[in-house]
Symmetry: C2
Subunit: 346 residues, 2 copies
């Protein structure tokens, strides 16, 4: 039973372009703060990074939602900022504030980063992937992931979450060659990091570009689309059959061009994307994934169910993976996730 | 010279659908913190609300950027939260934090609001419009404005700026009838408030829906698009020739449907909107306005100039108003605004 081939699993079939009568589903950030059993392990682990780098506990929290809700895919429990951490940029998580890094805003600060320690630092993450591969139910697809370079750079330059991304945008707009060196490093690091995940057993990878909406069109092209193209191209050389999902959150009408040119197999849609438009302009090009507003999962009831069914009806006629439009929020009642999963399992 | 007709001014001609060889321009939030002469008046006025409600000073800060940069339009200096203030919801501005209101989250709290005091409270704003009308250079169009109901409701329910708009979305998604009563009140209040601005001399009005991107598609339709439709419909009955601009920031691919169905003459595009797409899908329906990333105005130089020229070339072939994709940020060097204005005056 452990030997069901990747290509026979629902998620991979959808990403190969198959229209399935029962589309696969998973939820972004499905391992996380909405589950009491997660909070218990989190408390046991110490800090958030300690949990990311603890293969036993990271495996456990990845498996928890699969046991409860029976999704078709599990996504590795990790964080998009493990790459900067692995490159040598000091990283901390502060309660109530989120990630805090020592900002990198010039060539001197950039020159302190190095690929040398990446795999050592990320070793426990690769081990988590290997453990998951052997412990997951045989029909569940294992997804590896990384942040896309633009979003990772945004955190690296700002030093924390930001509303306006003033520093990173001023660097990217004002000194594109200098900023490009940081981005080049991130492209290389991301390829290496994802390759190790694939070597360890990840069957699909997703690139999260949470801050894609910060950039105007030519900058989106250069700093969101092109780095993803490069990563996809290099991964394809190494793993010709690896399905890859891109998530340029907030790309708006730019989703169509992203789907056309990024080279990915699937595109994850945020909850603002109109469904008819996605069906007509994006789904003919790639498999689409999405896009329930996570806030509807908090609200639950008829509002959630009606929207879930509308999404299924509109996008389910083509290659489609049901998901949220962004991550589950901590205050989501687990019983709403259970109800949605029940609807999606059909 | 004071009697140049509205319909002969560049901004109104563009909004009537004319393609102009030198498109008109103005900048969102052009009166504001990037100018030292503004900061001087602001300090003199006392609090931010004191400035909004002081016709002499509000007129002065509206005129300041016109004197410096020669834009084709002046926008009334005011704030989108003057409507809640006029409806009786206590409002304060706290330095470093922005607006703070006593949140309204249920029918009992909603029932405390009333239209009765709106015009008394907003009287000084209407007086500012009247003063501006007589003091503006004759070729400059006077723009009045209000927040669109969804965005105003978001502040009223959250009580302050919010990243996730959890409370207002949970109310809107979970109890649409109850939330609809707040929205109905805001539609009526907005029509009355804008009508008084038009009576006082506003030649164009703009509706700002800053948080349009918070909502998923059916909710965008109901809480962003429909209220704007109702406001436009009522204003058209009263002022058949009034040009109206809508700004559903972050509407993404939803901009096309908004342009098609909102009933507005112009649509303001945020900086993420791809220009070719806007030219092909939006500009055939309405005049487009936008969309330079305000951060490029901070950076200045070649990056700013190249993008400004790209916008002019792509959108200048049809009915078009040059603007930013959102408001000027405080740290913008005024000399960059001067340089951009010089380019735009041709």
């Amino acid at each position: 039973m452990k030997h069901m081939k990747s290509e026979d699993k629902l998620l991979v079939r959808a990403l190969r372009g198959e229209t399935l009568s029962r589309p696969p589903f998973w939820f972004m950030r499905q391992a996380g703060r909405c589950l009491p059993e997660f909070r218990e392990i989190r408390a046991k682990a110490g800090g958030f990074l300690d949990l990311c780098y603890n293969p036993e506990l990271a495996t456990e929290v990845t498996l928890q939602p699969i046991r409860r809700f029976g999704m078709d895919a599990a996504i590795l429990f990790a964080d998009i900022l493990l790459i900067p951490d692995g490159l040598g940029q000091p990283l901390d998580y502060i309660a109530g504030e989120g990630p805090v890094l020592e900002p990198i805003r010039n060539q001197a600060e950039l020159s302190r980063l190095s690929m040398d320690g990446l795999h050592d630092k990320a070793g426990p993450v690769y081990e988590t992937v290997a453990r998951l591969k052997s412990e997951l139910p045989e029909n569940v697809t294992l997804i590896g992931f990384a942040g896309a370079p633009w979003t990772v750079a945004a955190y690296m330059v700002e030093g924390r979450g930001s509303r306006d991304h003033a520093n990173v945008k001023e660097w990217a707009y004002g000194d594109p060659d200098g900023f490009g060196r940081l981005m080049d490093l991130l492209v290389v690091a991301t390829v290496e990091y994802l390759s190790k995940q694939v070597d360890a057993g990840a069957e699909v990878v997703q690139l999260f570009d949470t801050w894609a909406s910060a950039l105007s069109e030519p900058a989106f092209q250069r700093w969101c689309l092109e780095p993803v193209q490069k990563i996809v191209e290099e991964l394809r050389k190494r793993y010709p059959d690896l399905p890859i999902i891109g998530f340029p959150k907030g790309a708006g009408a730019g989703y169509a061009n992203f789907a056309k040119t990024a080279g990915v197999d699937g595109v994850s849609l945020d909850w603002t994307v109109p469904l008819d438009w996605a069906r007509d302009q994006v789904q003919p090009l790639v498999t689409v994934q999405g896009n329930l507003d996570p806030r509807l999962l908090v609200v639950g009831g008829k509002a959630m169910e009606a929207e879930a069914r509308r999404i299924l009806e509109t996008l389910g006629q083509g290659p489609f993976i049901f998901n949220l439009g962004h991550g589950i929020v901590p205050e989501t009642p687990p019983e709403h996730v259970a109800r949605l999963s029940e609807i999606l399992r059909g």
